[in-house]
């Protein structure tokens, strides 16, 4: 168990695993996302209330889902950084924060464009939208804080603390549609119940969520590998690995 834990923290071990998994993640992600999006755009039935504008859901929900789960993953990594000082955890936080920022922006943007024909407005300051905007600022704050501190170890600790403080926002986002009156519709997927949509709508949605998850995995691998290269370029294993590569 502990040996596994140590291995997991080793950048060299991760580098090898990531290289092996990346083509699969990319292929699976591209296929699933394309299938979900094409199905959702062209084949899923029209919503009886919202008409065709609801087709935005096939990218809105995946990006919003990922935006939150990336933050939760970052929070776990932040705990590992603070408690065990594992290098790889900090590499993860640093590498995926920009991805989370872009996904959060995309979910806000697609939500606003969806809101215009559905609610008649681009933006309302209600709980769901505002807490999502705070998530965007948390990502931005983590990136800015990391860049502002030159020393790698102090930056890692400061960012980890910020990420952990921001975790309080996640349940607020999650339950905002139930606790407060809002224009936002309740969640499509719940763990305990069947989706409230017909299968021709939620199956493509599930496909695009899974696809975007895989693409996130690919992005995390590439970006973490880059970060590891930059940090460990003086070590022997990086030197041997790069010199052995073709081209």
């Amino acid at each position: 168990m502990w040996q596994f834990f140590h291995k997991l923290g080793s950048p060299k071990w991760f580098f090898g695993i990531a290289t092996r998994f990346m083509p699969w993640l990319l292929a699976a992600g591209a296929i699933l996302l394309m299938a979900g999006v094409v199905w959702g755009l062209a084949f899923a039935p029209k919503d009886y209330l919202q008409g065709n504008s609801y087709r935005i859901i096939f990218i809105h929900v995946p990006t919003a889902f990922l935006a939150q789960s990336i933050y939760i993953m970052m929070a776990f990594a932040a705990v590992v950084t603070l408690v065990w000082r594992m290098k790889l955890a900090d590499v993860f936080v640093k590498s995926v924060a920009p991805v989370g920022l872009i996904f959060t922006f995309l979910s806000l943007f697609t939500g606003a464009v969806w809101g215009k024909p559905t609610w008649g407005t681009w933006w309302v300051w209600d709980a769901r939208l505002t807490s999502m905007l705070i998530l965007l600022f948390l990502y931005g704050g983590a990136i800015a804080l990391d860049r502002a501190i030159n020393d790698e170890k102090s930056a890692a600790r400061a960012v980890a603390v910020l990420v952990l403080v921001g975790v309080v926002n996640i349940p607020i986002i999650q339950y905002s549609v139930e606790w407060w009156n809002t224009l936002h519709q309740p969640s499509t997927f719940k763990l305990t119940e069947k989706p409230s949509m017909p299968a021709e709508m939620w199956v493509p949605l599930l496909l695009s969520v899974l696809g975007l998850y895989c693409l996130f995995g690919w992005l995390a691998c590439v970006r973490m590998k880059t970060e590891i290269l930059m940090r460990e370029q003086k070590t022997r294993w990086v030197r041997e690995l790069i010199m052995a590569e073709r081209g």
Binding site: T110, L215, V222, T226, R239
Partner: protein, 77 residues
């Protein structure tokens, strides 16, 4: 197929501009992020490689000094 013709698919009964704007921005940002991440990785890899090769050649071809000089302190008194 939920639409009768291709033009109906594009128009989406008036919701076309909203739907297609979302999908366009999504595609541009996602693909842009993936391409940028991949290119950055390539750039860092080749920069490392160049540096290693440079180090290797400077270590291997450094000319040996033809003679060594030692300063000798000679007392003048």
């Amino acid at each position: 197929m939920a639409f009768e013709s291709f033009s109906a698919f594009i128009a989406m009964e008036g919701h076309g501009p909203y739907v297609w704007t979302c999908y366009a921005v999504f595609a541009v940002l996602l693909i842009g992020l993936m391409v940028q991440s991949y290119r950055h990785h390539r750039a860092v890899t080749s920069a490392c490689k160049r540096r290693y090769q440079q180090q290797k050649s400077t270590v291997g071809n450094r000319p040996k000094p033809a003679a060594t000089f030692t300063r000798v302190e000679v007392s003048q008194d």
